[in-house]
Amino acid sequence: MSSESRLYTFSQDTKAALRKFRLGTSRAKDPQAIIYQIDKSNMEIKRADDEVYTNVQELADELPDNSPRFVLLSYPLTLASGRLSVPYVMINYLPPTCSSEMRMLYAGAKELMRNQSEVGRIIEIDSAEDLEDIEERLKGED
């Protein structure tokens, strides 16, 4: 585990942003998502862009076809029992067309990312279409 933290780096800004996102989204009314990518040149994990996505469809459009990404998602749900719950999860997006090099890069960083962002659980998806039933998956696993 610690060997990965020597390979991948987080800048101080990214760590602060991660913390702020985790703490600040539990009161939101709509889904909040940020896409993270790994910079191949310096092995740094950082945001893919500066947008916070509130629409699942927009998020699905933004995910690249052939590269893996990490998405931190906070999704307000109303469970069958009536209870309100805002699970904070990490989505490991791994399309089957990506190269082995990229697969290994993101697989190695998965646990590190989980610990750094302090998410509840990780959901694996392999195509942007799978995002459409994210709500069902979140409800079903609670």
Partner: protein, 383 residues
């Protein structure tokens, strides 16, 4: 008709062959390796010969397709081991292979570069066509699958000049035209008789061979306005589409009494050249109004008063006496003895597997073609 240039390379079947743009290098699939031959000018003997220059090893099973991209010089190979390799020439003369993960679980049967050379299509026994393009961000060849209406092995693929439309012949008896448009790699194609807005995997046309025989080869006409395919029922079908979602302007099917063709090529908008199990090369001529078999490229043995005919008769007289001497067989005009019947009358001694365009003249007509066969010969014919 000038004599064809015969190159008997070895005694093994040639599944596919391809010439480089300058026609100085010939890539030939020989079992699990690709042999690269270099043309040496006619030093000894008549005409240029090909000398073995390099071997591309990497595949584990029989290679089913080889294609050299004319401008970039890259070679793509497909094999029954479910892989494709892209071979890049390096400055030192070494060829560097890059494995392309096709993600198919059956053999790859054929491969062709698109005219733009940014993509290539691989037909497979897994009922899919893998269209592969290079993604620079990941330094990786990505393969996208065309699956939808395909119900059996894809035997051949052919590209439309716009590099977006792809024709595929399959053992389910259909020849289909797909769109393989890839955002970022392709430019939007102009609207044509095949269709307008064409997202990936759109079926622009689906044509069934009347007897549902296997379709061996498909080819677009030089302008892309027509599609020809040959099937195992010894027929050649030419389709002229009229518009998207509309019945075609004309579907002309020509049946022959010959053995089935395995490979076809358009030499101009009104002429087709075909070759197959008959071991000979045949021509078809026609237009949207009708097509018919117009002849063969083989030497005419009987009757022709030109030089080749004379030589033929002289040779057979020599052979007749020689066989009388050696084998005790008396010769004679019509009797079966005396004439050498251990060789086929055609140039190729076994089925022809691929037909390729060798040389085009100024107006875009194909002037010379090359054929590769199961007998290990590569022959260049003059049309």
């Amino acid at each position: 008709m000038a004599a064809p240039e015969v190159h008997h390379l070895f005694h093994a079947p040639i599944a596919d062959h391809s010439f480089s743009a300058d026609r100085a290098t010939l890539a030939v699939a020989r079992d699990t390796t690709v042999e690269l031959y270099h043309r040496t000018p006619s030093g000894s003997g008549p005409g240029p010969t090909f000398r073995l220059q390099d071997e591309l090893r990497g595949h584990d099973k029989t290679i089913t397709g080889v294609d050299i991209a004319p401008r970039s010089g890259r070679i793509v190979t497909s094999s029954q081991d479910r892989n494709a390799y892209v071979w890049e020439p390096s400055a030192s003369g070494e060829w560097k292979p890059t494995l392309v993960l096709l993600r198919i679980n059956r053999a790859a049967t054929c491969v062709r570069w698109s005219p733009s050379e940014a993509k290539f299509a691989v037909g497979s026994g897994a009922r899919t066509i893998a269209v592969c393009y290079f993604e620079a961000d990941n330094d990786w060849w990505v393969s996208k699958h065309i699956k939808k209406p395909l119900r059996s092995t894809v035997t051949s693929v052919a590209w439309h000049p716009n590099s977006v439309l792809l024709a595929a012949g399959s053992t389910d008896g259909h020849a289909r035209v797909f769109s393989s448009f890839i955002k970022g790699t392709d430019e939007r194609p102009e609207a044509s008789a095949w269709g307008e807005r064409l997202p990936f995997n759109t079926v622009c046309g689906e044509y069934l061979n009347p007897t549902a025989g296997w379709v061996h080869d498909v080819a677009f006409s030089p302008s892309g306005a027509a599609l020809a395919f040959c099937a195992h029922d010894s027929s050649v079908t030419i389709v002229y589409p009229s518009g998207p979602e509309q019945p075609p302007q004309a579907v002309i099917s020509v049946s022959t009494q010959l053995l089935p063709f395995t490979s076809i090529l358009w030499s101009s908008e009104t002429e087709l050249v075909c070759a197959g199990y008959d071991c000979g090369v045949y021509r078809f001529a026609g237009s949207a109004d009708g097509w018919q078999l117009s002849g063969t490229l083989e030497k005419d043995e009987r009757g022709s008063a030109s030089r080749p005919g004379l030589e033929q008769r002289e040779e057979s007289a020599l052979n007749m006496f020689r066989s009388m001497d050696l084998k005790g067989r008396a010769g004679g005009g019509g009797s079966s003895g005396g004439v050498d019947d251990t060789k086929l009358k055609t140039v190729h001694q076994n089925s022809i597997s691929t037909l390729r365009a060798y040389e085009t003249d100024g107006e875009g007509r194909v002037a010379r073609i090359s054929t590769g066969g199961v007998d290990g010969r590569v022959v260049v014919w003059k049309l």
